[in-house]
């Protein structure tokens, strides 16, 4: 087998990269100064995803291939891609560093991290995979609540915690009892796995007769992180559910009163013929109504407000009320990071539902469907207009 003409440089040693961050591939073209490359995906790495050209006046060309995987930017998951270069005769090859049997493979994980964190990790000669995602001795869960070793989650915000499994091995302990063991060291493929601590908590009532609220994640190297379920202070019927930076759903409860403010659009005047006066009269077309809610986040510590920032920057946010979910955009006019000597502050949130239209139906209260079937029909007008205003 002849030595391939080209060289390909992967973004990291093992080809791990995040879909939401630049994926810089280095292609060495030698004196030819231009070349073609192909990216294959699919379970057998045989689906042609992209066929591109590169050129460079130097011997190296650098290409950001992240846009090819942009669909994974906001969704957790993992995919693999094979990179090959193509010579003039159409023969595909890896590179001098990668034999045809060991061609360059990218492993792309969903989500992304901030430039600040990239810079900080680079300064420490590290990356997000060795620092967090693929290190079972630290907080490797795909939550943005915290990167510290203790993950505190209020009981009414508890969602399954996801992680990228390949190579990880750990036990979940309650006090000194192992209640669950996970061993992914023999996994061949990278997979996204989760642990539902809410379900585990219920299961333990049956198996060890305890209601537990704290779990320790323990590896061979020792105690890695802890999951602490904290007690919610007040009940709430309003929550925001959003996809965090890793592309995993999380929840935030809105503790205080949620107010509704209709955003009524300007009406359009139209002329309509009136048969009684035999002339045109000016009438108003139906206005558009937007649903805007204002709420307070409840008092949040500095760490919790960082988590709030992740929600504010999320592209997928749902307003959850009475078991229903509505897509919305959330903004705030409150200073999120303030010097408060460690005191928690509350944040004002403006929640604008994406569904706006000509008709209004309330969502902040249970619709009493029994009204529709009341025996005397007293709640129903001839056009039914007062059932849903």
């Amino acid at each position: 087998m002849p030595t391939p003409l080209y060289k390909i440089l992967l973004p990291t040693d093992n080809g791990y990269c995040l879909a939401g961050n630049p994926i810089m591939m280095g292609f060495w073209t030698g004196d030819i100064q231009s070349a073609r490359y192909r990216i294959y995906t699919g379970s057998n790495l045989d689906v042609l995803e992209y066929d591109g050209m590169i050129s460079s006046i130097s011997e190296w060309a650098w290409v950001d291939v992240a846009s090819i995987f942009s669909s994974m930017k906001n969704t957790a998951g993992v995919t693999r891609a094979k990179i090959v270069m193509v010579d003039d005769a159409g023969v595909e090859s890896g590179s001098a560093e990668h034999t045809p049997d060991n061609i360059p493979i990218l492993t792309i994980f969903g989500g992304g991290i901030s430039k600040l964190l990239v810079r900080m990790l680079a300064g420490n000669n590290s990356n997000i995979f060795s620092w967090k995602l693929k290190d079972s001795t630290t907080n490797f869960f795909l939550t943005t609540r915290t990167n510290s070793f203790t993950i505190a989650i209020p009981e009414n915000e508890l969602m399954p915690l996801y992680y990228y499994a390949k190579g990880l091995k750990f036990d979940i302990k309650v006090d000194d009892t192992i209640v669950m063991s996970k061993d992914h060291t023999a996994d061949i493929e990278e997979t996204l796995q989760f642990i539902d601590f809410s379900a585990l908590r219920l299961q333990l009532v049956g198996s060890i007769n305890k209601l537990v609220s704290a779990f320790r994640i323990v590896t061979v190297a020792g105690w890695s992180c802890s999951i602490v379920i904290t007690q919610a202070e007040t009940p709430t019927d309003f929550q925001l559910k959003f996809k965090n930076s890793w592309g995993v759903w999380e929840k935030i409860s809105l503790h205080n009163v949620v107010n509704f403010t209709p955003a009524i659009g300007e009406a359009t005047k139209i002329n309509q013929f009136d048969a009684i006066v035999n002339d045109f009269v000016s009438t108003t077309s139906r206005k558009s109504i937007g649903n805007i809610f204002t709420a307070e986040s409840g008092y949040k510590t500095a760490n919790e407000r960082f988590f709030l920032m992740d929600m504010l920057s999320s592209k997928s946010v749902l307003f959850v009320t009475y078991g229903r979910e509505y897509a919305c955009n959330v903004t705030t006019d409150t200073t999120l990071i303030a010097s408060t000597m460690g005191d928690p502050i509350s944040v004002n949130l403006k929640i604008e539902l994406q569904d706006a239209g000509e008709f209004f139906s309330p969502v902040t209260d249970e619709i009493d469907y029994n009204i529709l079937t009341s025996s005397d029909g007293s709640d129903i007008t001839t056009d039914g207009a007062n059932i849903l205003v």
Partner: protein
């Protein structure tokens, strides 16, 4: 006032050491012998003043675990 954080470490929700005994206590508390464990767990997982009052029937011990979090351990009196 519910203890949420102590010395900047989170306080875990109540840990009940003996759920069977707690269910008996709950049935007496609600004056209803037919209440199921499922209903009891629902009650324990939903914040309310009634739940706080019920927790006051237990002996409570707070343990700080390796300075990472605090556990509230409830045992029947």
């Amino acid at each position: 006032m519910l203890l949420k954080e102590t010395h900047n470490i989170p306080v875990a929700a109540a840990q009940i050491e003996n759920m069977s005994a707690a269910l008996v206590l709950f049935r007496n508390y609600k004056d209803n012998q037919s209440l199921s464990m499922e209903r009891f767990i629902d009650f324990l997982n939903y914040p309310s003043q009634e739940r706080n009052d019920f927790f006051n029937l237990f002996s409570e011990e707070v343990i700080v675990v390796n300075n990472r979090y605090a556990k509230r351990i409830l045992t029947s009196l």
